[in-house]
């Protein structure tokens, strides 16, 4: 493989297996500390997502991996090789920008060929690989087109082909779907997965969209304020959020403050402000949450884990209801604050202003630090 490319380190992905971020930090003059001592290990062939709200530092991490920003401190390792201060053109990464960044003066094929041309790959080899890459993203016939003649979705795929054709160590995707409409987003997601499965390239995906992250990733790192809150598989992120932030960021979630009032036989009893109590398995908590009598905790309850039931301990008034096909999303003004609930269509939908009682599905409750 290496002989084929004739290049020592400019992107022949099988050599490098693991991407390591070691205490990586970045501060900007105006914005201050944007990435705060991030440690990450991304395994070979993984589809890894950096998820967080805008300004959480996820794009900056991606740009540091690409070499477009220099870390203030910390190290970036490709396998054993320290690339922290290597220029981007010597890292061998494929980067897909949010706005695609296609060269407007080149045709589609020349855009894709660019990375190979600067590596002085033979013309024959370039022709073969460009055709293959365009076919892979289903643009086989558009090689001669000008980039401004393409639709947004097509431009996106050219950008992807351009990044893949150099056989990068890592494929970096910076919010690649945010400029597409909903229909195209679904298609492109499927294609990204397919390309990942086919090529096996380690992919690092940056997004603020939890649905994309949950649906596509092998693992997700949830970031906020430059810090990593949790690194885990999608299901674990969803079911066992590590912090109150993660719980609130993923899914429709209620965070209710409570106090620990009982501890016995591996069970924990918590009391809400309306005096109602709930007993859970003490394993239903994020790592690091210490349980002791009188301790304040936050109970995370997904909207779908609250249901309307006449014997429910929480009383409230249905304040708002939004029909969504498979069910209805409701807001209940209760004596523990406003609660979000999901009512499946099979249940008789309450009407606005009606008083309701809510029951909590205890196994779905998860405790985090306040």
């Amino acid at each position: 493989m290496d002989e084929l490319l004739g290049s020592e380190h400019q992107g022949e992905r099988r050599q490098v297996t693991v991407l390591t971020l070691d205490a990586l930090s970045k501060s900007f003059q105006r914005a201050g500390l944007v990435v705060d001592s991030v440690n990450l290990r991304i395994e070979d062939g993984e589809f890894f997502t950096l998820l967080g709200p805008s300004g959480c530092g996820k794009s900056t991490i991606l740009r540091m991996i690409a070499g477009l920003e220099e870390p203030t401190s910390g190290r970036i390792l490709f396998g054993d090789r320290d690339v922290t201060f290597d220029p981007p053109n010597q890292r061998g990464i494929g980067l897909v920008f949010q706005n695609y960044a296609l060269f407007p003066h080149l045709t589609v094929a020349r855009n894709v060929a660019f990375g190979l041309e600067v590596r002085k790959t033979s013309a024959e080899e370039i022709g073969k690989r460009v055709t293959a890459a365009l076919t892979q993203v289903q643009l086989g016939t558009l090689g001669a087109a000008r980039v401004d003649q393409l639709s947004g979705g097509q431009q996106q795929r050219v950008a992807l082909a351009r990044a893949l054709v150099i056989r990068p160590h890592f494929l970096l995707l910076d919010e690649p779907l945010s400029n597409l409409d909903a229909m195209l987003r679904g298609e492109t997601r499927a294609m990204l997965r397919a390309v990942h499965n086919e090529s096996g390239v380690t992919t690092i995906y940056v997004t603020h969209d939890q649905e994309e992250a949950l649906g596509m990733s092998d693992r997700i790192a949830v970031l906020n304020g430059g810090k990593i809150h949790q690194v885990a598989a999608p299901q674990e992120i969803y079911e066992r959020p590590a912090t109150r932030f993660v719980a609130g960021f993923i899914g429709r979630n209620n965070a209710i403050e409570a106090t620990v009032t009982g501890l016995q036989n591996g069970n924990v009893t918590i009391q809400f402000s309306n005096r109602s109590e709930l007993t859970l398995n003490s394993g239903q908590r994020a790592p690091g949450v210490e349980l002791a009598l009188g301790k304040k905790v936050v109970a995370c309850i997904r909207a779908e884990s609250l249901c309307i039931s006449d014997d429910g301990p929480i009383d409230g008034i249905l304040a708002d209801i939004e029909y969504a096909g498979s069910g209805s999303s409701c807001i209940v003004q209760s004596n523990t604050g406003d609660l979000k609930i999901e009512v499946p269509t099979s249940v008789r939908p309450p009407s606005r202003g009606e008083s309701v009682h809510l029951k909590i599905a205890a196994p779905a409750v998860h405790l985090v630090e306040p």
Partner: protein, 570 residues
């Protein structure tokens, strides 16, 4: 172009207005025919009046003739001007927009100083600085104990220096704008794909800058072909503009032929420029964020860049500084020293005490004002007709409107001399040559395109749905024009007016061929007369007035722009 990419909407006119618009169109056609196209054709006819039908054109093909020499001279100077202005303009644009160093903002402001340089006095200042017996040749001569004449820029070199330092803004502005619009992510994409810095420049950045560079080159070439003052002062006689002016009275058929050839060359460039404007402008969309400027770290590079920026901006400020210095120098006092030796307030005192000292200033302002008033009527009407209606033949109006923009001032003036030396219907049966009105007429013809252009671009940015909204809310066409369209394009009109006014206050090229008598001489002619009799101080004093008028207009323009930046999205 509206944001959605749909071409600007046309307004359907009610029937009653259709008659009016036909009337308007007729008047427009008459005006354009009478004052723009007609005089050009008159010149063409005059050029055919020689012995054989095309006998005046044969010498252009004969290498030994003066006509051929002048044509080659003009083309050669223009070619060299494009190269040197291009090098300076592109270098400064890249330097000041891609790198960050001390006083960068200040340099960015100073780099546009040449725009405020009055045409005639500015060239004279260059001459006094670098020409025969100028400041720098004398200084260098003293320094090296050599003949100062060896260091003087004369002839072609002098013209090139003036062209370079006055025309590089064409390159600077277009390249700087393109750099500001271009997107960091393209560069980053190139790096991430493995391109080195050098490869990125050659393969991505330069190709991206090709359209603005070509645009700058076309403008520079056209302006160099039209340049008259610099060849005149540096005594380069074998260029077409000088040949036209010198032969305008004595050998009219020869001058006509030269004017026609020069007009043809200019029109070709006009067509190329118009075609180029619509094509190949690369726009990229990036998500906010500030552009990165490369902070220079290496101390050597720092010193080199700093020196380059310092030297080039010094070169730009020197002529203006020279005009201000001269304005306080005693007339006839400057003979042999590098700089004027005696200073006085006399020039300024004279300006405020002698009764007719203000006459040239008053004439200039008055003639420009008359011309601009007419130009607004013509330019705005034409712009609206071209942008918003569906009448046939509006393409012809568009071309006819832009024609005088492309024609050198010398040619415009010469056309008027040929056309209005006899009474005609368009001069109400009068001989216009020798009257006051010929100068405002020339200004009117030259400056209408400026107002047409700026109004057109405002109108094309106007979202057609705004006018439609007004109509749907019950406004009549005239109400919606008055209350919606006009307020929104006011900024564009005002911009054109001010540009035209600036050009009017400085106009020399056409005026020198047309102005009727001493009593009616405008500013630049007064300056020319003072220079010719050696009263450089008095001339410079008037030059300063020109600079101040231009600055006042620029400040005014800024304020109008600030107030009229109403952004509307669709």
């Amino acid at each position: 172009m509206s944001a959605s990419g749909i071409p600007a909407g046309r307004t359907f006119l009610p029937r009653r207005l259709k008659l009016t618009s036909a009337g308007v169109l007729l008047v427009l056609s008459l005006v354009l025919w009478g004052y723009v196209v007609g005089p050009l054709i008159a010149t063409f006819q005059r050029s055919l009046a020689g012995e054989g039908l095309l006998s005046e054109y044969k010498p252009f093909l004969d290498f030994g003739s003066v006509q051929n020499e002048a044509m080659r001279g003009s083309l050669w100077i223009s070619f060299l001007s494009v190269i040197s202005a291009g090098v300076v303009g592109i270098f400064l644009a890249v330097l000041l927009n891609r790198w960050d160093f001390r006083f960068r903002k200040l340099y960015q402001a100073l780099v546009l100083v040449p725009i405020a340089l009055p045409p005639l006095m500015g060239v004279k200042a260059f001459y006094l600085l670098f020409g025969k017996a100028g400041t720098f040749p004398q200084l260098l001569g003293q320094w090296f104990h050599a003949n100062s004449a060896d260091f003087a820029l004369t002839g072609l070199a002098g013209v090139l220096l003036v062209h370079t330092l006055t025309m590089y803004p064409y390159f600077y502005l277009s390249v700087a704008a393109s750099l500001a619009q271009s997107d960091d992510s393209l560069e980053e994409a190139a790096y991430s794909l493995g391109a080195s810095k050098f490869q990125t420049w050659i393969r991505v950045l330069l190709p991206m800058l090709t359209p603005p560079i070509v645009a700058g080159a076309l403008l520079t070439f056209m302006s160099s072909m039209a340049s008259y003052t610099a060849p005149l002062l540096f005594e380069v006689n074998n260029v077409m503009t000088v040949q036209i002016a010198n032969n305008a009275a004595t050998q009219q058929s020869l001058a006509s032929a030269v004017a026609v050839v020069l007009a043809l060359i200019s029109v070709v460039f006009l067509i190329v420029i118009r075609g180029y404007e619509d094509r190949r402008i690369y726009r990229t969309q990036s998500k906010g964020g500030s552009r990165k400027r490369h902070r220079v770290t290496s101390p050597w590079v720092k010193v080199i860049l700093f020196t380059c920026a310092l030297l080039s901006t010094l070169m730009l400020i020197l002529p203006i500084a020279m005009i201000f210095l001269l304005a306080f120098s005693k007339n006839y006092s400057w003979r042999t020293a590098p700089l004027p030796s005696e200073y006085t307030m006399e020039n300024w005192v004279r300006l405020f005490s002698v009764s007719d000292a203000w006459a040239p200033i008053r004439n200039s302002v008055e003639m420009s004002a008359i011309a601009v008033a007419g130009a607004v009527l013509l330019g705005v009407t034409c712009a609206y007709v071209v942008a918003k209606t569906r009448v046939r033949g509006k393409g012809v109006i568009d071309v006819a409107m832009m024609l005088p923009w492309a024609l050198p001032g010398t040619v415009v003036a010469f056309n008027l001399i040929v056309a209005f030396a006899r009474p005609s219907a368009f001069s109400f049966g009068q001989v216009l040559i020798g009257t006051y009105w010929i100068v405002p007429l020339a200004y009117f013809i030259r400056f209408s395109p400026l107002i047409f252009r700026s109004t057109s671009s405002s109108l094309s940015q106007l979202d057609p749905s705004l006018e439609e909204a007004a109509r749907s809310l019950g406004a009549t066409w005239s109400t919606s024009f008055r209350r919606v369209v006009l307020p929104l394009v006011r900024g564009g009109i005002a911009g054109g007016v001010l540009l035209a006014f600036v050009a009017g206050v400085g106009e020399f090229v056409a005026t020198i061929m047309l102005f009727p008598k001493l009593k009616y001489r405008p500013l630049s002619i007064a300056i020319n007369d003072e220079l010719n009799v050696g009263r450089w101080g008095t001339a410079a004093c008037l030059g300063v007035v020109q600079v101040l008028l231009v600055l006042a207009v620029v400040v005014l323009m800024r304020r109008v722009e600030d107030r009229s930046t109403i952004t509307h999205s669709s």
